[in-house]
Amino acid sequence: MGPLNVSNAAGRPEPGATRGPTEALDAARPAPPRGPAPPRFGHGYHRQVTKNIPAIAVEGLRKRYGEVRAVDGVTFEVAHGEFYGILGPNGAGKTTTLELVEGLREPDEGSARLLGQPSWPRDPGLLRRIGVQLQASAFFEKLTAREQIHTFAALYGVSSRRADEMLETVGLTEKAGTRDDKLSGGQAQRLSIACALVHDPELVFLDEPTTGLDPQARRNLWDLLREINAQGRTVVLTTHYLDEAEILCDRVAIMDAGRILRVGAPSELIAELGVGNLEDVFLQLTGREYRE
């Protein structure tokens, strides 16, 4: 499959319209290729993908923690090459949903199939094809950025050279000798994403990758994420930044109290509810009371 075959039923928002405002800040960093881009992530894309099955098919997922219904009957599908966002206030169940989909936790009910395979029980063959960035960066203790990514590369049987390339891709070559606890928030997130991508996964999960970053770092990260998606990878991201979802995502699922309230392209949702932007959509669907 070609790296750019990424459109989906819902359609991608016009790049010019949504990406305009970030242009000025993007100038600080070498602009990644927009639109058609050669696969810069090493091995290229030769895997057999059956186009008629969705990349992710989730059905009736439920998970309770004691009395808390963290995920309460979630069903959705993500197409190959799609950039899919899960939006919701704190405690909505985004992380738990992602963890169930990734196969990190066993669902109480329901199932998740990734690339046609069930994600639970654990299947190392499937794990090779997915890349995960956990909500809190998971780094080995007291290792430098380069040692971290080399370790992850080895876990996936990937060469050290490729790991160094990945470090370069996320712009951390200069920080290669820095220990994880000395990296800034943005650098740590980029390293974490690099570790998630080092084995060239088809499916990428990112849990709040931009939370806690300053505007510059956020926008740099957006470029990186768009680039990843432009190479044909399916990307699922959770966020509670609405501007981010509006700019990055082909489709978003709005979640609250363990349930998905609405799914659609940001522009469709805005039109449907007759409001000004995704933030208004969000507030209209989830209410305005304080969370956590």
Partner: protein, 355 residues
């Protein structure tokens, strides 16, 4: 690089770069050995301190070579005041007072406070008197009891210090490092992240055990290297290499202690406190720092329940007492059983996350 090797390397670097942890688990015990070994260097445990008042024929008329032999076991000091000498014995400052009556009877006074020591002195004096009696008759002895201590005659403190401190070092290293790995990997979500990597749990566990075994063998090599230099003078006996499988089993046993504490503790600090509370008293009760031969029965009963005591004893047996498989196998079996039970407990307590 293979997943196993790179994981091992990542763990090893993480442990060695934690300065405090590596100091206390690796350097600290070795410093104890260097220090204790030097402090007690001339202090043979079987050397008794006897005060001699006035003339005592069996001691004074001893041939020079016999006197030299005796001096390895007995340190004789001449005193002028018998009452003062008796006071020193009851204070524990000396082990016994000896003098001779006008009618030739040899009087020995010792303190009952240290039964072992009293027995030693008594036995020594008895044999001196008997051999003097025999020599007086001019006949060769009709019966001879050839008895000897199991240990090297002049047992030096290094011979129990080296195995005891090594046992303590192994216990600290294995338990602290496995507890810290578990707590930190849970806290930093590395455990979760590894679950999502296409590697088997066996690889992760194997790498972790491999790192601990490697560290334990390194410690053993350093300890034996230091203890056998002439200054410390440890003499290894035939089956000393059995210490290697013993150390391996001990490492597994104390890793399992670390796993239980690591599974229970939420933070490094809690794990550290719990480990200190477990390991230090256990080391004392296992004779890591001083022998417990003369301690009360109840102490020895508790001591017998300590895995470290059996490790220490078996390691001392094979290193310095010429013991072999007979001493090593039961200890190894017991340590492995202990490891299996505690690992099962740790598995019950195990959590993936702190929440």
């Amino acid at each position: 690089m293979s997943a196993f090797r790179s994981l091992s390397l990542a763990m090893l670097k993480g442990l060695l770069r934690d300065r405090t942890a590596s100091f206390f688990t690796l350097v600290f015990p070795l410093m104890f050995l260097l220090l204790f070994g030097a402090l007690f260097q001339n202090d043979s445990v079987s050397r008794s301190h006897v005060l001699q008042f006035g003339e005592v024929a069996v001691l004074d008329e001893m041939p020079a070579d016999q006197r030299r032999d005796l001096s390895e076991a007995l340190n004789v000091e001449q005193v002028r005041d018998r009452d003062e000498a008796l006071a020193r014995v009851s204070d524990g400052d000396a082990d016994a007072v000896v003098w001779q009556d006008e009618d030739g009877r040899i009087e020995l006074r010792y303190s009952a406070a240290d039964a072992t020591r009293a027995g030693t002195v008594q036995g020594l004096m008895q044999s001196l008197v008997q051999s003097a009696n025999l020599a007086e008759t001019g006949q060769p002895p009709a019966f001879e009891l050839a008895s000897d201590q199991v240990e090297d005659k002049s047992i030096k403190p290094i011979q129990y210090l080296a195995p005891g401190l090594l046992g303590w070092a192994i216990a600290m290293g294995a338990s602290f490092m496995s507890a810290f790995t578990l707590v930190n990997w849970r806290k930093k979500r590395i455990l979760r992240r590894l679950w999502l990597a296409p590697i088997s749990p066996g690889t992760v566990i194997g790498a972790r055990i491999g790192v601990s075994l490697g560290m334990a063998f390194l410690q053993t090599a350093l300890f034996l290297g230091v203890a056998t230099i002439p200054f410390y003078g440890l003499r290894l006996t035939g089956f000393w290499w059995l210490a290697i499988p013993l150390v391996a089993c001990g490492t597994l046993a104390f890793m399992s202690v670390g796993l239980v504490i690591g599974a229970w503790a939420k933070t490094d600090e809690a794990a550290n406190a719990a480990l200190q509370l477990v390991i230090m008293p256990m080391a004392f009760l296992s004779g890591s720092f001083f022998p417990l031969d003369s301690s009360p029965d109840w102490v020895r009963a508790i001591s017998n329940a300590m895995p470290l005591k059996h490790l220490n004893e078996a390691v001392q047996g094979v290193l310095t007492r010429g013991e072999g498989w007979g001493a090593a196998l039961p200890a190894m079996g017991g340590l492995l059983l202990f490891a299996a039970v505690l690992t099962a407990v740790a598995a019950r307590l195990f959590r993936w996350d702190d929440t």
